[in-house]
Assembly symmetry: D2
Homo-oligomer: 107 residues x 4
């Protein structure tokens, strides 16, 4: 997330004095709630209304950012750190073209 977006989110929250509600637990609940709303776009069909998908995606990304900020971590860095872990679990030669979980990949 660019510093400018981060600053705008922080100002938005500060103006409303909402950081009092943003405990890690409440943000984790909020992400799950919004993930349910995103999933609702695909409840009975494999294609969802794009405008609504974008709105729900925005809500999730916003809460992710607020959680990262609350933990004092950079969301990009967290993603990169996890990517290293995932890279080790899913070597290219074993995982290419397969969707199985790492502990079910053939040797």
């Amino acid at each position: 997330m660019s510093p400018s977006v981060r600053d705008q989110l922080r100002a938005f929250v500060d103006e409303r004095d909402w950081s009092q509600f943003h405990s890690p637990e409440n943000l984790a609940k909020s992400i799950a709630i919004e993930a349910g709303e995103l999933l609702e776009c695909f409840q009975w069909s494999d294609s969802g209304d794009v405008a609504r998908v974008k709105e729900e995606l925005a809500d999730i990304a916003t809460y992710c950012h607020l959680l990262a900020a609350g933990l004092g971590v950079d969301l990009d860095q967290v993603v990169l750190d996890k990517l290293e872990v995932t890279r080790a679990k899913y070597p290219v030669e074993k995982a290419r073209g397969r969707s199985e979980k790492y502990d079910r990949l053939p040797d």
Copy 2:
């Protein structure tokens, strides 16, 4: 998300030929699944193990990025667009210090 992180995610997916699995519906399911894992950090307590919270947060942010990329939209822009909508629903003077949904805020 910085262009560098985006490029690394794309390379990671391309090397494994995984974009075939990344339909918007599958990514929406994946976000909801990972949101459940994040929530599990807070299942019986309001404080969660920070290392695990960061890993789950990374998974969610990664799938959010992949969904945005699949829709051909910029995640930062989607967040900013939604922020305008939310700003209109929650004017500072009505929403300050309150956690109610916009349709239950006192006038």
Copy 3:
């Protein structure tokens, strides 16, 4: 849920002194967590391993029962009460063969 199953669940919880953890909020989180695990059976495919689906379904149903018990309500009665509401929102003549939400059904 039959009285016998209900009694066995209650005994299971009582023996472990676990009702202290079963606040409505914690049970709501638990249902969402288990719903994510059920969804994981269908993450990359529309068919899931039946044995695992049954286990995750059992976890959700168990927490639903515990939440109903904690609220002092009968889960069957709650289902029937809601069925009346849903029946009114989705009259047969308007909703037959359609998956749209009630506020988007054609007149």
Copy 4:
């Protein structure tokens, strides 16, 4: 779930010709969506509006029943089968008064 409730749910679905939408995958998504709505009752607070909690709980229980019916299994039996598994993972003497996952319980 009592046979009478099961029959009423089946009649409700049949009248609307809705079983075409009730693939296991769609029902798993539906359970996750409704679980998010239940969680929303507790988004910013540990106490939720009881009437709304009951409605969301009813939705989840309804979809659980439909999924069990679609799999040709009895939901009560599935709960009892899983209870045996859980009993073995959480022996009374190790698990009493503790909320840790079974693989983190002290010996």
